[in-house]
């Protein structure tokens, strides 16, 4: 008779025999042996957990993430055309699954709520035996789920999360982030903005009133002030705001000549629409053309804002128009299957699934500590952003950052942004103990058992 224990903390194995079940006088059949770590795969396959927003305002982004995951699993299992498996260097995966096991996956709905995302991740770990969790579309969700995965003893490959905190004060040993962050956006944007708009600007910030908004505002303010721009005012806007007219109106009288919108998703679409509606873009202030900047772009946001994004600067993690070999391979593979180019969310999650699988293969185990070790300090190329490193000190991914601009003459619904500059990694790099990231510690990796 063997027992299995699982759960959030394996340190505490309760020595209980199956009396409860035995009392029901059922003939019990026991299989399996004690796992060395949470959800150690025993059979011929291994389960990944993909936790994405399926309901709520980011459902389209979540749907694109799921498409990318499905594609990644196909490629890992040796189906399809292999996509980035053909360009990834170094590559340990053999196209026969991971460590000889076929990859299966389960999906869940984060609803873009910390609570729901944790519930969904927990069920994938506890019920479906997921060995890793990946995905998500907001920093609040990413930080909450990352904490859960640390406690549960599985690896978390964060999806879209842009807040400094994810690999800053809330970083965790079991969590890795491929996406860039607010500091990087600011560092990459600053030089481009300087050359485009000069070094004498008066900036007005509208910031979504929650943690991500705050970290981005702080990053942009620091970077722009360093190059000589003056911050006129920063104003917080409630997350639930729909009509931003009341927040846009005071900007005109403030004497500012530049507006930074620290908004994401629907907030950004609506605030930008209002700003354009109030004629800010055509205005002349202090003898300069009024300018609007959206530090974090996504293609779906650009789609929602329509005409209004034309010529507006921002940054993004990846764009399908990139001409490197890896990006081309991915776009080709994704486009063939889904008849559309992938979004940056799709790219991030696809790459993360591949990288995770590769790390498992390289370390020869699914044990989070072994996999984590294989990912820490891992340097690779051919995944669309040039040479890339997962820094060991904070599990943040370092790579080139794209500065983009709303395209003036888009050719299709997907062709809305153009890459104006690829800011090299060196320019966006920071010390792990930079003051915007200080205050947390990775802790030790937790294998669960």
């Amino acid at each position: 008779m063997t027992k299995l224990t699982s759960g959030i903390s394996r340190r505490n194995i309760i020595k209980t025999s199956a009396v409860g079940a035995g009392a029901l006088a059922m003939p019990l059949v026991f299989t399996g042996s004690a796992g060395a770590y949470t959800n150690e795969p025993k059979g011929s396959d291994v389960t990944f957990g993909f936790n994405v927003p399926q309901t709520g305002a980011y459902a389209d982004e979540g749907a694109d993430e799921l498409r990318a995951y499905e594609l990644a699993v196909e490629h890992i299992n040796g189906e399809g055309d292999g996509g980035m498996m053909n360009t990834m260097k170094p590559l340990s995966l053999k196209g026969n699954g991971v460590n000889g096991k076929k990859v299966k996956y389960v999906t869940g709905d984060t609803q873009t709520k910390a609570d729901a995302a944790r519930a969904s991740a927990k069920s994938m770990i506890e019920k479906d035996g997921a060995i890793m969790i990946s995905g998500g579309s907001s920093s609040g969700v990413a930080i909450a789920v990352q904490g859960l995965c640390q406690d549960a003893g599985v690896i978390f490959m964060a999806g879209l999360t842009h807040s400094n905190d994810t690999t800053g004060k809330d970083k965790k040993a079991n969590g890795f982030r491929h996406f860039f962050n607010a500091y990087m956006s600011a560092a990459a944007l600053a030089p481009v903005l300087k050359s485009a708009y000069g070094d004498d600007r008066n900036v007005y910030h509208l910031t979504a009133d929650y943690t991500w908004g705050w970290t981005q505002e702080k990053s942009i303010v620091a970077a722009t002030e360093a190059m000589g721009w003056n911050t006129v005012k920063t104003v917080l806007t409630p997350l639930t705001t729909k009509d931003f007219s009341s927040y846009i109106a005071p900007i005109i009288a403030s004497g500012a000549d530049t507006l930074v919108l620290n908004h994401y998703g629907g907030n950004m679409i609506n605030s930008l629409t209002s700003a354009v509606e109030f004629g800010l873009r055509g205005k002349q202030v202090n003898g300069k053309d009024f300018q609007i900047i959206v530090p974090l772009y996504s293609r779906l946001m650009a789609q929602g804002a329509g005409e209004n994004v034309k010529g507006i600067y921002g940054s993004t993690n990846w764009h399908w128009s990139l001409q490197d070999e890896g990006s081309q391979a991915f776009v080709k593979s994704f486009g063939k299957k889904y008849k559309r180019p992938p979004s940056q969310a799709a790219h991030t999650t696809y790459v993360q699934a591949l990288l995770y699988a590769d790390a498992c293969e390289r370390s020869g185990t699914f044990n989070p500590c072994g996999v984590g070790e294989a990912l820490e300090g891992h340097k690779f190329d051919g995944m669309g952003n040039g040479p890339t490193e997962y820094r060991a000190a904070d599990h943040q991914c370092f790579k080139d950052v794209l500065v983009v601009k709303g395209k003036e003459k888009p050719e299709s619904d997907f062709d809305l942004l153009e890459v104006v500059e690829v800011t090299p990694r060196a320019q966006v790099e920071y010390a792990p103990d930079h003051e915007m990231f200080a205050g947390g510690s990775l802790g030790k990796c937790n294998p669960g058992a």
């Binding site: 759960g7 309760i14 059922m26 399926q54 609570d115 519930a119 609040g140 943690t211 802790g443």
Partner: protein
């Protein structure tokens, strides 16, 4: 109506206790036998039972009960951060704070009735939510949710040197510990956290049963029927309704505290009006004013949220794999809009159907089916006779 049945209360309690304790076994074949969902069944069961004491008995429809759930969560969390990881102080503080909170909100809201009361409670809850998400971030940690940190004081606990976060415990018994038994090709998971919640659920169910049977409960039901008559019968209805409001607020606070006992993170979303709406739906779906209805409603909704949302096309294809490919494709095509990312659609349709055809909720449905079976049993002989003649032809 269960409430009016002259059933033996001891029998009800016994049946309820057995069902709850056997939850991990009963629900495993339905894919719901894992700790997190079981805990949610119990916790939201408590929430709905409490809500039912207000809404089911007095008829006052609150749209702001999630605020008390959130307040309970935050107070319990702060107890974990400052004092100790033992859950008892956390539960005590959350009960006190949510009671205070509900006295204030209840005192003001209960000065109005009908939809005016509903809107007042909604307004208070939305204010709490909006502020928790933004201005009160130092207390609530806003969007990210209030979580444990290694640096937290926890003055009663021994110094933590393990480098990993502590987890909530009951006098040293870790609530996260699970015993897994594999049998019949299924995994049965027995989790301490669930059993702790289950015991609280049973206690709270018992309290609710006693309230239903008490003169206090009788007065509450009289409030629902005819408040005017009650006033002229010499009853001051205000303290009764406030009492019911505070009791249900405490239930909600307790549920909130249990949420962080099983998963130590308190997010602001749990105070949003949609969360308040959810408990209304649970109660009415199960059967408002009945004893067991709210628990069933809570279970049904949490099941839909956690199980239906995970059914993607691949899973569906698995379900219909036994059919020929074209037919299974057809079924997948028909069913897939209602599960996975479409689980909200499913939920919406279920509400509409239940409210339209079963105003008494699922409990009424069960009663009707039982009645139908009984009447069928009576007729069965004649049906048999007919059946045999037909077969002979």
């Amino acid at each position: 109506m269960f409430a009016n049945l002259k059933n033996n209360d001891k029998l009800i309690m016994l049946g309820f206790t057995i069902m709850v304790f056997a939850g991990p076994i009963i629900l495993a074949p339905f894919g719901a036998g894992y700790p997190d969902l079981l805990q949610r069944f119990a916790i939201f069961g408590i929430f709905a039972i409490g809500f039912n004491i207000l809404f089911g008995l007095t008829g006052y429809l609150s749209f702001g009960h999630a605020a008390f759930l959130g307040v309970g969560s935050y107070s319990a969390m702060w107890m974990f951060k400052l004092l100790t990881m033992n859950v008892i102080p956390a539960l005590i503080l959350s009960v006190i704070i949510s009671a205070l909170f509900s006295v204030v909100i209840g005192y003001m809201s209960l000065r109005r009735s009908g939809i005016y009361f509903s809107i007042l409670t909604l307004a208070f809850a939305q204010m709490s939510y909006n502020l928790a998400y933004s201005v009160f971030t130092p207390v609530t940690n806003g969007e990210t949710g209030l979580q444990l940190r290694l640096q937290d004081a926890r003055i009663l606990d021994a110094v933590n040197t393990s480098g990993s976060l502590p987890s909530p415990s009951l006098f040293g018994l870790k609530l996260s510990a699970t015993t897994v038994v594999e049998a019949f090709g299924m995994r049965f998971q027995f989790n301490w956290g669930f059993y702790f919640c289950a015991i609280v659920l049973i206690i709270m169910f018992y309290i609710s049963l006693r309230i239903f049977r008490s003169p206090f409960g009788l007065m509450l039901r009289a409030v629902k029927t005819n408040q005017n008559r009650l006033n002229y019968t010499g009853i001051n209805t205000r303290p009764y309704t406030l009492g019911a409001f505070v009791i249900s607020g405490v239930y909600a606070g307790l549920a909130g505290a249990l949420l962080v006992c099983t998963d130590p993170l308190a997010g602001a979303e749990r105070m949003q009006w949609t969360a308040s709406g959810e408990v209304v739906l649970m109660t009415i779906l199960g059967g408002a004013g009945t004893l067991i209805g709210p628990v069933i409603g809570a279970g049904a909704i949490k099941y839909a949220e956690n199980i239906f949302s995970k059914i993607n096309d691949t899973v569906l294809e698995g379900y219909f794999a036994f059919m020929p490919e074209t037919i299974s494709d057809f079924f997948v095509f028909i069913v897939s809009p209602f599960v996975g990312e479409g689980w909200h659609l499913m939920l919406g349709l279920i509400f509409m159907l239940v409210v339209t055809f079963l105003p008494g909720g699922l409990v009424e449905g069960a009663t009707r089916i039982t009645g139908w079976i009984v009447s069928l049993g009576k007729k069965s002989k004649s049906v048999d006779a007919n059946g045999s003649t037909e077969a002979a032809e």
